[in-house]
């Protein structure tokens, strides 16, 4: 096995995901989605919401480490 297996896998995965993402946004322009709430129907809203939510979750989680993270043997002390 080559050492850069994971790297090349990561690269091609990124490439395909970006292509799929672009296609999904383009598809959104071809027809009007019907949703329960009107602002979800805005072009690319779910994509934007997904991206922002994900970043928010990770960043807030990272910040919460300050308050919630203890040593591994915390309860044994």
């Amino acid at each position: 096995m080559k050492k850069n297996d994971l790297k090349s896998m990561g690269k091609s995965f990124t490439k395909y995901i970006l292509i799929i993402g672009a296609l999904l946004i383009l598809l959104d322009f071809t027809f009007q989605r019907h949703e329960y709430f009107s602002f979800v129907e805005i072009y690319g809203f779910p994509a934007f919401f997904g991206f922002v939510s994900f970043v928010f979750i990770v960043m807030l989680g990272k910040w919460l480490r300050k308050f919630l993270m203890r040593k591994e043997d915390y309860y044994d002390q």
Binding site: M1, K3, D5, L6, M9, G10, F13, T14, I17, L18, I20, G21, L24, I25, L27, D28, F31, R33, H34, E35, Y36, F37, V40, G44, F45, P46, A47, F48, F49, G50, F51, V52, S53, F54, V55, I57, V58, M59, L60, G61, K62, L64, R65, F67, L68, M69, R70, K71, E72, D73, Y74, Y75
Partner: protein, 560 residues
Amino acid sequence: MISNFIPGLIMIITSFLLPTIPQYFRHPAMLLSVGLSALSLFNGYGTFLEWDILGLNLILYQSDSLTLPFAIIFHIAAILVIIFSWHSKNLMEHMATLAYAGSAIGALHAGDFFSLFIWWEATALTSVFIVFAGNTNAAKDAAMRYLIIQVSSGVLLLIGACLMLYQTGNHNLVVLDLKTNFGIFIFIAFGIKAAFPLLNGWLQDSYPESSVTGTVALSAFTTKLAIYALARTFPGTDSLIWIGAIMTAFPVFFAVIENDLRRVLSFSLNNQLGFMVVGIGIGTELSLNGTVAHAFVHIIYKALLFMSMGAVLYRAGTTKASELGGLYKYMPFTTIFCIIGAMSISAFPMFSGFVAKSLIMSSLGGMGMVLIYFILFFASAGVLEHSGIKIPYFAFFAHERKNKVKEAPINMLIAMGIAAFLCIAIGVFPKYLYQILPYTVEYQPYTLDHVISQLQLLVFAIIAFLFLVKFKLYPSEIRSTVLNSDWFYRKMLPGIGKPLFKKIGILTDSLYKNLGLSFKQVLSKSYKFSNLSYIKVTTPSFAGTILISILFIMLVIVLV
């Protein structure tokens, strides 16, 4: 005769007989017992067994359209667990698992709160041995905490049932509300097992401490039994909508920073229960169908994810993200099965999570509950983060691995393969799932609008992940403990209680010392006093003993 036999009971009986069965025949016997129990699925709806005792009419076996889907999936889960643990020779764990699954199935068919209480406690008492089978000091401690919490839930249920019987004269499983005191007791009892916010600590505390196979069994039954009980007794209870929404959102942040991947899955389990609880809170036919469908598919994909992490633990010896990575080369089948589980829980179209979660989201949309809708939409991105990406990424990819490990044993692969197959089959052919739901609702999950918006959400969340990794913003895994609501009884209460009891101890010590002298004097006097012939204590004769016994029995009879 078989039609009157409580489903699950045959599994409990078999579990007691397991020690007498040779090792090689134990798993076939377990499967056979599940098969025999599953015959009850064909009995149809109705009340099949009642028992009049102490003036109470206990409904031991009843079945209806809400019971059936849970009963089907509990039997499937039991089969998956048995196959997954085929390699194991741990007799205690096998007995506990079979009896636990049997108790959970029995509980589904209880028609009154007292029968439910018996099964409720039976699931607690049997499952604690599964946690215990983790066989580490941490597992043993967690098992004791687990037992206390689970039994407390049962006690609250019993108090609620007694109050209900006393106040209304009824103890059957009927729809309750939170305006009555017994309703509140029962609600909290169910809430503990359903891992409501702040009552959830036991779940993340105990499940990851269990054995390779034990966690799979644990993940399937207890919490979903609570969901069933809530759906039966509290549908349409408004507060459940908010409780559920909080359950979907909060565990997400804990899962991001947790290092133990089985604990990440336990947080994820909590988050999934939130979706189901919201469905119960809405209380419409569509939303209750959504809850049941979600519980059904969730048991399969959650078991699949726990099985994949169980396989990793079995082969690599740990599920800590900080120690793992690169296993895709050595465990390719486990990797694929894990990814299928991850895609199902993330609700990718054509996977089972999609067709179930859609029902709940649609019912929310239909009711115009915009805020809750967005919390759940947000939580969906969270599910993708911790279960869709974090689990497979850190276990199987992340970085190259130096030490070789073997692929999972064949029985594990078979169990994972069946679960993976079901995840895809239900996703592709949802109508078979919809057919067994409690209410007849025409629903089409695969509309172009819905598929596109869901794919946009998920794909761009993945792009966000790639972005964070690329710019080194994604938090690296650190060996650590993440505080959870179990902190209150593991640290805070002992922190207050221990010094307090120490002070009380010092006080009572000095009190005894001061009183010691006077006690001695009293004792010496009483000794002299007791030696006086006319008050000397004598043991009763044989006839006297008989007489006292008869009087005692009469007293008991009169009291009863």
